[in-house]
């Protein structure tokens, strides 16, 4: 037997320190990960989603633009298709309108009703919106269509999250 053999007390100390260290690390590591997470995540485009439309192709006539993104909804992760009506207004600025009717959420269509040309029309309760998205008085909707903020990157149109506007 050598002189400097490990005593029972030392052995227990080492073991406890080791196990305790592991446990502390196990608790601290996720916390650190949570703390730095926003830093790792931030990227230039933020929540803007790329569409398949070139900015140069946008005309004065509203066109349907579909874009897909992943949506996590509790335990479902699904690929969701969003739609926007995109056109250039009289000043040449791009406008991207949400197709969701402000009344009860049906999908509005451009120029779909023969009696109301050049307006957005909701087939459910015959709601109407002007081209710029303002609701036509005396139809069911009480607010204008939501507007998507947009960005242009490499000539491609990027859309953000639809924003509501004040009622007319």
């Amino acid at each position: 037997m050598s002189k400097n053999r490990v005593s029972r007390r030392q052995f227990l100390n080492y073991t406890l320190t080791g196990v305790g260290g592991f446990m502390a690390a196990g608790m601290l590591m996720p916390m650190v990960r949570f703390a730095v997470d926003p830093v790792l995540k931030a990227n230039a485009s933020g929540d803007y989603i790329a569409t398949n439309v070139k900015v140069a192709d946008i005309t004065n006539e509203p066109q349907r633009v579909d874009f897909t993104f992943d949506q996590v909804d509790a335990w479902y992760e699904s690929e969701v298709t969003g739609t926007a009506w995109v056109f250039k207004n009289d000043e040449g600025k791009i406008v991207a309108l949400s197709p969701v009717c402000k009344h009860l959420g049906c999908t509005v269509d451009w120029n779909a009703d023969k009696q109301n040309p050049n307006r957005f029309f909701c087939p459910c309760h015959y709601g109407l919106y002007e081209k710029d998205g303002t609701n036509v008085p005396n139809t069911p909707p009480l607010a204008p269509l939501d507007v998507y903020p947009y960005q242009e990157k490499d000539g491609i149109l990027y859309l953000g999250k639809a924003q509501p506007r004040e009622g007319a």
């Binding site: 009344h103 009860l104 959420g105 999908t107 909701c122 087939p123 069911p140």
Partner: protein, 153 residues
């Protein structure tokens, strides 16, 4: 609107605007046509949920009516009871969405409108074509709903 608490809350607030019920008819079988009925169920479910997305302001999408395919008589009797309950309330239009041909043959026994579409082999398609095929179907069905609503006025 879907059969979910959040949507039903909306439904209660705006119930005078919702006069249409949609019931997907979903066959179940444990025999040789097990897979076939599964794809019929899948198709009817996807189709009706896409319809609901487009026309949610006027539609209440009920949870699917599932039934054993070999008890046709009983399933018809029970569905007729569903229909009476729905039509006694505010639902002036009841639509059934299904891929099961059996219903088509007995369509006359129902007061509501039966939408029968042959099911497509969706599980063999890739994501992109799946979505565009369904969108196309939904767009055509939507017109049927809209013209049915128009008839009424």
């Amino acid at each position: 609107m879907k059969w979910s608490p959040a949507d039903i809350e909306k439904f209660m607030k705006a119930s005078e605007y919702i006069d249409t019920a949609v019931v997907p008819l979903l066959p179940v079988s444990l025999g040789d046509d097990m897979k076939e009925t599964a794809s019929m169920t899948d198709f009817a479910n996807i189709l009706s949920s896409q319809l609901e997305r487009q026309l949610q302001g006027r539609i209440l999408l009920l949870p699917g009516y599932s039934y054993f395919k070999n008890t046709a008589q009983e399933s018809m009797a029970l569905l007729q009871k569903w229909e009476t309950q729905l039509m006694d309330r505010q639902f002036r239009h009841v639509f059934y969405v299904t891929s099961d041909i059996d219903w088509k043959q007995r369509e006359g026994q129902l007061k509501g409108t039966l939408l029968w579409l042959p099911s497509l082999p969706l599980h063999q398609m890739d994501e992109g074509s799946k979505v565009s095929v369904m969108e196309d179907q939904v767009r055509q069905l939507m017109n049927l709903f809209i013209s049915k609503w128009r008839e009424e006025e």
